[in-house]
Symmetry: C2
Subunit: 153 residues, 2 copies
DNA sequence: ACGTATTTGTACGTATGTATC
DNA sequence: AGATACATACGTACAAATACG
């Protein structure tokens, strides 16, 4: 439940993992306020810099929002939804583990397709399938040719 | 073309705006490498801290990717697409101006719907409509009730 | 109504590690 | 091998908004 300064994973990512896990497990419930930055600093013996970057990661995943007074667990996931035909398509930011598993660059959302079988009731989270990781890593930012041409441009 | 230390907007956001604008204007073309951090530091007389946060913003918008050797403008926008019926739906992160205009929290992607009229050719960027800003600000993170209940929990 | 304490935001500095050129 | 450039991580300081007594 803590971070390890000698682990091969950066402190701020470790803390981000910890906070994310706490949210997923329900140890931090929607609407609940996260401990203030100084709290994380003391508890893990790390700098404010690391704490703030950890929180920024989780915020970027749409799991929390930060206000002047503190960060709060979001009620519903930060998902954008459109209804189409018999189902709906939603977009959200992947968590860091998802992003690594799907080999996505930062700033790339994932799409989730949910089909309403035919009218049957179904659990919101089930019947769901992550479809996309758009451009994936790198084909987008022109690997190779343009990279070297850069000096010319 | 520079940042103003006395403006009411933070230095790092000003720089992020600048970089984003350069990309949108095509002054920075896909595949091109951005100037190194020290370059931005010297040119604008700001700290590395501010430069790095500016770059992090633009990266979070899916406009660039950062590697060991530097940041590069993405070829295509970091968009995830699914095809549905006669059209397609894509998701991407909003730019900071868009996010503010739509009043979205951080970590919330937008969905774009493109319809293929009936078979006619159409410009990729046109015929496009931003549909969504999911949960918008706050209803998600339980404004009001839960906020005060937090002390109890 | 007011001042104080808390908390996050911005911005600077330094140092070290590591991968790339 | 050395220079360059990004990543991580520490430190400080002050500003601004919010909450509290």
């Amino acid at each position: 439940m803590s971070v390890d300064p000698v682990a091969d994973r950066p402190l701020y990512k470790q803390l981000a993992d910890l906070i994310r896990t706490q949210i997923e497990r329900g140890e931090l419930v929607p609407g609940q306020r996260l401990p203030p930055e100084p709290g994380y600093m003391r508890r893990h013996g790390i700098s404010r810099d690391s704490v703030r970057r950890a929180i920024a990661i989780v915020r970027g995943e749409g799991l929390i929002v930060t206000e002047r007074r503190g960060s709060y667990v979001r009620g519903r996931r930060a998902v954008t939804v459109v209804h189409v035909g018999q189902g709906r398509i939603s977009a959200r930011m992947p968590t860091d583990p998802e992003r690594r598993a799907m080999r996505l660059d930062e700033g790339v959302p994932v799409l989730v397709i949910s089909r309403h079988g035919g009218g049957e009731e179904l659990h919101p989270a089930d019947r769901t399938e992550i479809v996309a990781g758009g451009p994936g890593p790198s084909p987008a930012h022109a690997r190779g040719p343009l990279r070297r041409r850069q000096a010319t441009a």
